[in-house]
């Protein structure tokens, strides 16, 4: 029983968290939620989803930055991931109205 509990403890401790550097992301939505979404659509920078933005242009801006936006480097997000993200943004629907923050 003690051994079983220890094993369960070890499993819980090892609950998977996806590392968040180039080549480790689980997909575009994870990148959006962990990065882009803190500004875009959060009242800091314009919403990008639902606008059918040109993926090539989005990828270039994310890589090189824009007024008020930092450059995201290949060690954070590699070219393939950036390309996927930009295509996901182009196809993503307009989000439902965000819930008000809990006060």
């Amino acid at each position: 029983m003690r051994r079983a509990l220890l094993t369960l403890g070890a499993l819980l401790a090892a609950a998977p968290v996806t590392a968040q550097s180039a080549g480790q992301w689980q997909g575009p939505e994870q990148i959006w939620n962990a990065t882009c979404g803190y500004c875009h659509g959060a009242g800091v920078a314009p919403e990008l989803r639902g606008r059918k933005l040109d993926p090539q242009a989005s990828a270039f801006i994310a890589r090189n930055g824009a007024p008020g936006m930092p450059a995201f480097k290949p060690s954070e997000i590699n070219d393939a991931e950036l390309d996927q993200l930009a295509r996901w943004i182009a196809l993503a629907p307009i989000p439902a109205k965000a819930p008000q923050p809990v006060r």
Binding site: A19, S21, Y38, N64, P67, M69, P70, A71, S75, R103
Partner: protein
């Protein structure tokens, strides 16, 4: 020996995909927000190692090839230089791929992380493991990480807001490849590396912050047990001349722990810059008059100064501390806006601070960051001094002061359009004049960005510069690591 030969050798260490030297590839690393030319700070190459062994190998190669390396953790450092170097011709040592959360100890409430770990990754990891632990974030929290920010001695807004004060143990690679574990980290099979900061003998951690004496590859940090209760609020004072009274009111509340966190005192212009567009409020010439932003703040129920703070602890303590603050603020002529919510003060990630980019458009941002002793005379003097210099250059004065017990970090963002050469030149001249004026008035600095490091170092005195140079020569005799950082040259 050339940069090209170093980069060729580096490819064998980190793999060809993790070395950058093409102009297109380097462009993101050259991007800068400070009012200084990119060409003076742009890197000539980038190498991105993934392990301690690779960092050691790269330092050895850099020594052989006499190639200076500028280490970055996540490489953001908005408004302090982003990932650019103090001097031209350096290769960025990009540590973003080193992103292991090595340990989280829920008993002692500590973590051990690598430089590429972001606050977001650390928070996700803590939550996935089910621990009720808070992390203190700097303003760019989700995108940056504890190692870089703590080494820059950055600040956040919870009781753990002094980030360097809440580190515990570094692993540092010196220029010759020596791996030093500071504090208790030198003990074989150490059990207390993240529990006790000072170790035995001289305590060295400080010399590896805001410096270029080594490359930090691991850092311990302390995490805050989530408090059973908290309440956030905003104290508002209506007039600019209230600043002396505000400082006298808040200082004792910080000293006795009633206000447990590094709250932020914003003037009406920073409030306006965070929530409005400049062109919608003002179309005249020169710096925006404070009366304009005061009127705007009043229209939102705020005033000349607003102090965002939180109280934490057992529910009875929160209620009791709240009453004390309510009484003190009322006695000083202020009013309390209850439950105004700043996510960062309660352990939630946010990038709301960067709404200030919308003030003017354009990606220019530089923080002018003197230390302000928390005396009324100094608070009044610093505001007058900064406003006077900024008015002269047509630069908008605004400030967000992080208030501790004895001092405040008087962090004044300058937001401008880097696409406009005239505006950029004015902000640079203004920044230089501010450093000089504050230095002459007896004030020093919490932190500064590339382009102004030598000038700020001179304010802190020739003797400090000389001793730093002697340490540099002892630890890095070929000047491989980050030449020019904090004004430290060989």
């Amino acid at each position: 020996m050339t940069i090209a030969s170093f980069l060729a050798a580096a490819r064998a260490v980190v793999g060809k995909d993790h070395v950058i030297e093409s102009p297109d590839g380097l462009a993101p690393f050259a991007r800068i927000m400070m009012p200084v030319p990119e060409a003076e700070h742009a890197p000539v190459g980038v190498v991105s190692p993934q392990s301690l062994a690779e960092v050691r190998a790269l330092l050895r190669l850099a020594g052989e090839h006499k190639t200076p390396l500028w280490p970055t953790s996540t490489g953001k450092n908005f408004g302090y230089g982003t990932s650019t170097a103090a001097t031209p011709g350096q290769v960025t040592l990009d540590l973003r791929r080193m992103n292991r959360v090595i340990d989280i100890d829920p008993v002692l409430c500590t973590a051990l992380v690598e430089p590429g770990v972001t606050y977001k990754l650390l928070q996700d990891t803590i939550r996935a493991q089910g621990h009720k632990l808070w992390i203190d974030f700097p303003a760019p929290g989700p995108l940056v990480g504890p190692v870089g920010n703590s080494l820059e001695r950055g600040n956040g807004t919870t009781p753990y807001g002094d980030h360097f004060a809440n580190t515990c143990g570094f692993e540092v690679v010196l220029a010759d490849g020596t791996v030093l574990r500071t504090g208790m980290g030198g003990v074989a099979n150490t059990k207390s590396w993240q529990a006790f900061r000072y170790g035995y003998g001289p305590w060295l951690d400080g010399i590896f912050t805001q410096s270029n004496f080594g490359v930090v590859t691991k850092m311990g940090l302390w995490l805050m047990p989530a408090p059973p209760a908290w309440r956030s609020g905003m104290a508002v004072w209506d007039k600019f001349e209230d600043i002396g009274r505000i400082v006298d009111t808040l200082r004792p509340l910080r000293f006795d722990g009633t206000i447990g966190n590094c709250g932020t005192l914003l003037d009406s212009t920073l409030f306006a810059a965070s929530t409005a567009k400049r062109a919608d409020l003002y179309s005249g010439k020169g710096a925006i008059p404070p009366s304009v932003t005061l009127e705007y703040a009043r229209s939102k129920g705020l005033g000349a100064w607003q102090y965002a703070f939180s109280v934490y602890g057992r529910p009875d303590r929160v209620a009791s501390d709240w009453k004390v603050i309510e009484t003190a603020v009322a006695a000083s002529g202020g009013k309390l806006v209850p439950d105004a919510y700043d996510p960062m003060q309660v352990g939630e990630l946010s990038l709301q601070t960067f709404s200030i980019f919308n003030w003017t458009g354009g990606h220019g941002l530089a923080w002018f960051s003197p230390v302000m002793p928390l005396r009324p005379t100094d608070a009044i003097r610093q505001v007058e001094l900064a406003r006077g210099v900024m008015d002269k250059h047509g630069v908008d004065f605004m400030t967000g002061m992080t208030l501790n017990g004895r001092e405040g970090l008087n962090v004044m963002p300058m937001v401008f359009d880097r696409g406009d050469p005239d505006s950029t030149a004015r902000h640079r001249a203004c920044f230089e004049e501010l450093i000089q004026a504050f230095g002459e008035a007896g004030y020093g600095f919490y932190r500064t960005g590339v382009g102004f490091m030598d000038q700020v170092a001179r304010v802190h005195g020739e003797t400090q510069m000389d001793v730093n140079r002697r340490l540099k020569r002892a630890l890095d005799p070929h000047g491989i690591i980050a030449p020019g950082k904090s004004g430290i040259h060989l």
